[in-house]
C-alpha cells in the first residue's frame, strides 16, 4: 500500500521544462500569421454571397473602398476615379501579385464600380476580389 502512494505522488507533477518551448511555438505562429490592419477605409455594408471563398493571400491584398455615395478611398485617402489607375499601377509595380479587394457598399450604383474596374484594367491590376459577407 505505501508503495502505491509513492507512485501516485511521482506522477502528479506536471513537467514545466517544455512550457517555454510550447509557448514559443505558439508565439512564432501568431507572429507569422499576424497582419496588422493598416487602413480604416470607409463604412460599407458588404453584399451577401454564398459561393464566396475565404481570402488567404492577405499580404498581397490592396484594398479599395467605395461607399454608397460613390466616394472612392484607397489608403485612407479619398480619390477620384481617374486617380485609381495611377495608385494601383504603383502598387502593381511594387508587388506584381497584388489582388485588389473591392469593398463596395451593396447600395452603390454599379456604374461607379464599372468605371473603377475599367481603371483597374488600365492599371493592369487584373486580379480583383469582390468582398462579400456570408450571412444576411
Amino acid at each position: 500500500m505505501p508503495k502505491f502512494e509513492k507512485k501516485s505522488k511521482a506522477d502528479s507533477r506536471i513537467p514545466t521544462a517544455s512550457m517555454a518551448d510550447i509557448a514559443f511555438l505558439l508565439l512564432i505562429f501568431f507572429v507569422v500569421t499576424t497582419t496588422f490592419r493598416v487602413y480604416k477605409g470607409l463604412p460599407v455594408h458588404m453584399p451577401f454571397a454564398k459561393q464566396s471563398v475565404q481570402l488567404t493571400e492577405k499580404r498581397n491584398l490592396a484594398y479599395l473602398w467605395i461607399d454608397r455615395d460613390g466616394r472612392i478611398s484607397i489608403d485612407d485617402r479619398l480619390v477620384g476615379t481617374e486617380q485609381v489607375r495611377f495608385i494601383m499601377n504603383a502598387k502593381m509595380v511594387a508587388n506584381p501579385f497584388t489582388i485588389v479587394s473591392l469593398k463596395v457598399d451593396r447600395k452603390t450604383q454599379y456604374g461607379i464600380v464599372n468605371r473603377v474596374l475599367e481603371e483597374l484594367r488600365r492599371a493592369e491590376a487584373l486580379r480583383v476580389n469582390f468582398a462579400t459577407a456570408l450571412n444576411e
Binding site: 508565439l27 501568431f30 507572429v31 451577401f48 479587394s101 457598399d105 464600380v113 464599372n114 486580379r127
Partner: protein, 155 residues
C-alpha cells in the same frame, strides 16, 4: 583558491530560464490580442487586359448566356425575367445544354442598378457552374449596357 574562483564564474554564467515561459506567454498574449481573425471572404475574378480602342471581338450570339440587370434591380436571363434565387438553376440548365463548352455568361448591369444585386447574381452564376458539374470552363463577362468594351473575366 584557484578552484574556488573557477566555481564562482561557472555559477554566474548561467542564464535564468525560469522566467522564459513568462516572457514567451506575455508576447504570445500580445500577438493573440492583436491578431485579426476576422475572415475576409470574396468572389475572385481576373479581368481581361485593357485593349485600348481596339474593336472588340465579335462573339456569336448562340454562345452567349445573356443576363441583364436593369435600373430597377430586376434580372432577366435571355430576355426572360427570372427571380434572383432561380438564376443558378436556369443558367445551369443552359450550361448543361452546351456540349462544346464554349458558352460565355454575359452579365450586363445597368449603371443605376445596385451593386449588391449584381454580386447576388454573380453568386448565382458561381452556383450555376457548381450545379452544372465539371467540364464547364468558367467564362463570365461583366459589362454595362451600351458600352462595347466588356470586362471579360473568369475566376
Amino acid at each position: 583558491m584557484a578552484l574556488r574562483a573557477k566555481r564562482h564564474i561557472r555559477g554566474s554564467a548561467e542564464i535564468p530560464t525560469a522566467s522564459m515561459a513568462d516572457i514567451a506567454f506575455l508576447l504570445l498574449v500580445f500577438f493573440l490580442a492583436t491578431t485579426t481573425m476576422i475572415s475576409e471572404r470574396g468572389i475572385g475574378m481576373v479581368l481581361p487586359k485593357w485593349s485600348g480602342n481596339q474593336e472588340p471581338v465579335k462573339i456569336p450570339q448562340e454562345r452567349l448566356i445573356k443576363i441583364w440587370i436593369n435600373q430597377y434591380n430586376r434580372v432577366a436571363v435571355d430576355f426572360e425575367e427570372v427571380p434572383i434565387d432561380q438564376i443558378a438553376r436556369v443558367v445551369a440548365d443552359r450550361l448543361r445544354a452546351d456540349a462544346e463548352d464554349d458558352d460565355i455568361v454575359s452579365l450586363k448591369t445597368a449603371p443605376d442598378a445596385e451593386y449588391g444585386i449584381m454580386v447576388k447574381v454573380l453568386d448565382q452564376i458561381e452556383e450555376a457552374y457548381d450545379l452544372a458539374g465539371p467540364g464547364h470552363t468558367k467564362r463570365v463577362s461583366l459589362a454595362t449596357p451600351g458600352r462595347m468594351r466588356e470586362n471579360n473575366g473568369g475566376p
